[in-house]
Symmetry: C4
Subunit: 186 residues, 4 copies
């Protein structure tokens, strides 16, 4: 629900920071809280973790780190705490490289990540971090966006590829998407 | 809890947009995100989807689409994702017509909607989308509002029809409703 | 969590109103929505109803109606919907009188309230609506507040009565409460 | 999620206060509500208690009381209500002294705290309230913060002590933490 919070950093603790927005101090768990300075005006990119007894914001300096975090917690057995310890290392490329090259041993160096979890991360994420489904490089920007939107709506790769062939992409993105939907619903 | 959020569109992704209100970036899942422009000031009509591990806003350009979405997710077996793929087609009338004319085959064209779900949609919603209960056309505007309020409070059609006969509708709506309640509690 | 929302009424529906505060349209279920006018600046007294799949505000014109509503939903078997239909009648005294005089038949006139629920309401609330525990009339205002705070902290009637005897109430309320706590922890 | 709320106290009740921030009246359960004055501008330090049917703010005058409260509710069998009755006594040192000196009898004076709960509090918290893990006094301020951050990320005491030996603490805290992480991931 909350993609980011803009505000002033008013507290820095080993595990979290507090960002004040309109007089409300939001407690945000952060992997590297000391990257902030008290009084700093910042935009914390956030993920809201919701469970029966949890309603907690996790915050990151940028979308790239957030996206890696979201991919990690999508792996079964990897919760926010382990994912935080991985992204805390703050060298996203090195982590992605370890996953892409199946370097499970490297991943076990992070606290809470045993060999089994490391292999599960590789199994679930390999190929998903760098080049997203649908051989994206073959598509123009517009068709990439339309393809992603159709995929988000539940259409599978075959349906998407079939419909994209007949769409005129020299028009506004919204119209292109409508044209693709109309083709799919013929 | 949130019926709409007014703000500036700051992010557009295949599956969601981000609307900034008072420095908070609200992540809103949208069926047709490309209908927005970055920097556009907008009012997103929202539905808050709450489950044990979900606290997520779904957003629409207008109340009509929202209402169709709400009716669709009231059908057993139809979740927000399938409902989004239906309303994404953005031709509410065509969808309502398919339901009113029991055209299950048409509904199965939407991703995630098999024949069984299509028939369940028709079973649950036919007659409920165009002309709401209580033969509304027979009622004047005021009595329509009072009837709907009584129905919302749990009174059945017979009780409502009986009480409406004795209410003077040439008065403020609130007084008319109180009069109807008093009649019902005699 | 939300005791009231100040804002402008922007929507009135048979079952709810929308109150806009700082660009966010809060959907508030209301027993008598037509008591509001579009554009009216108002303070809606609210109760946040939370369940696994519910996060919903119920709103009332004043604390008195809210308190009656809260007492009603504390009765086992009475949910917000039935309580709304009772307080919708908007004559709190008549409802309280019916409970205080064990008039179950009157309560069954409300939709969703059968004889069993009516009797449960009387069983649970009789004597609790008008004169709250601890024979409040015997206490001065200050001691009434201290007694209520001690009760809220979990001290029973006997402990409270015993401690109140030794407290000097010609001092600031906070000091009086501290003195009472100190006596209880001797 | 909410570490504090800044606003005006608009209601004081035996069990809670209402703090208004930007037109929203937040209901905050408070152990000593009479320490506030109506109209007072204040910052309430808060804890958000979340369960399947609860979404409630508990508020305190300062972080010290909040931290004691958080430690108490971390003890199995001690819920927010009992913890509130303990911190209500508002003499944090006396309570900590009772725990540090295993004075279970003193703790049983608080409502809802029997001998078994008192002993559980002592078992879980003794040594944890005054001097946090890792013999903190041996560490300089910077290394204390880095150690606490590493602990928060899941590294154990041995790993932390080993890595701290090789870190140069005459640099910015964030760089020191990165250096420690790099050492741990060698």
């Amino acid at each position: 629900m909350y993609r980011y919070i803009k505000g002033i950093v008013t507290q820095i603790n080993p595990q979290h920071i507090v960002v004040e927005n309109n007089g409300v101090g939001y407690l945000v768990l952060s992997p590297v809280p000391y990257q902030y300075k008290i009084g700093e005006e910042t935009t914390v990119v956030t993920y809201l973790h919701v469970r029966e007894d949890i309603f907690q914001l996790y915050g990151f300096k940028d979308e790239e780190t957030l996206n890696l975090f979201l991919k990690l917690i999508s792996v079964s057995g990897i919760g926010p705490k382990s994912a935080m310890s991985i992204v805390a290392f703050d060298d996203t490329n090195k982590i992605i490289a370890a996953i892409e090259t199946s370097d499970a041993k490297y991943l076990t160096k992070f606290p809470g990540i045993g060999m089994k979890s490391a292999q599960q991360i590789i199994l679930d994420l390999k190929g998903k971090l760098v080049n997203d489904e649908l051989d994206m490089q073959l598509l123009s920007d517009n068709s990439k966006d339309v393809a992603a939107a159709l995929e988000a709506l539940g259409y599978n790769k075959k349906e998407i590829a079939k419909s994209l062939k007949h769409v005129n992409f020299d028009q506004d993105l919204n119209k292109a998407l409508k044209e693709a939907l109309a083709i799919l619903l013929k």
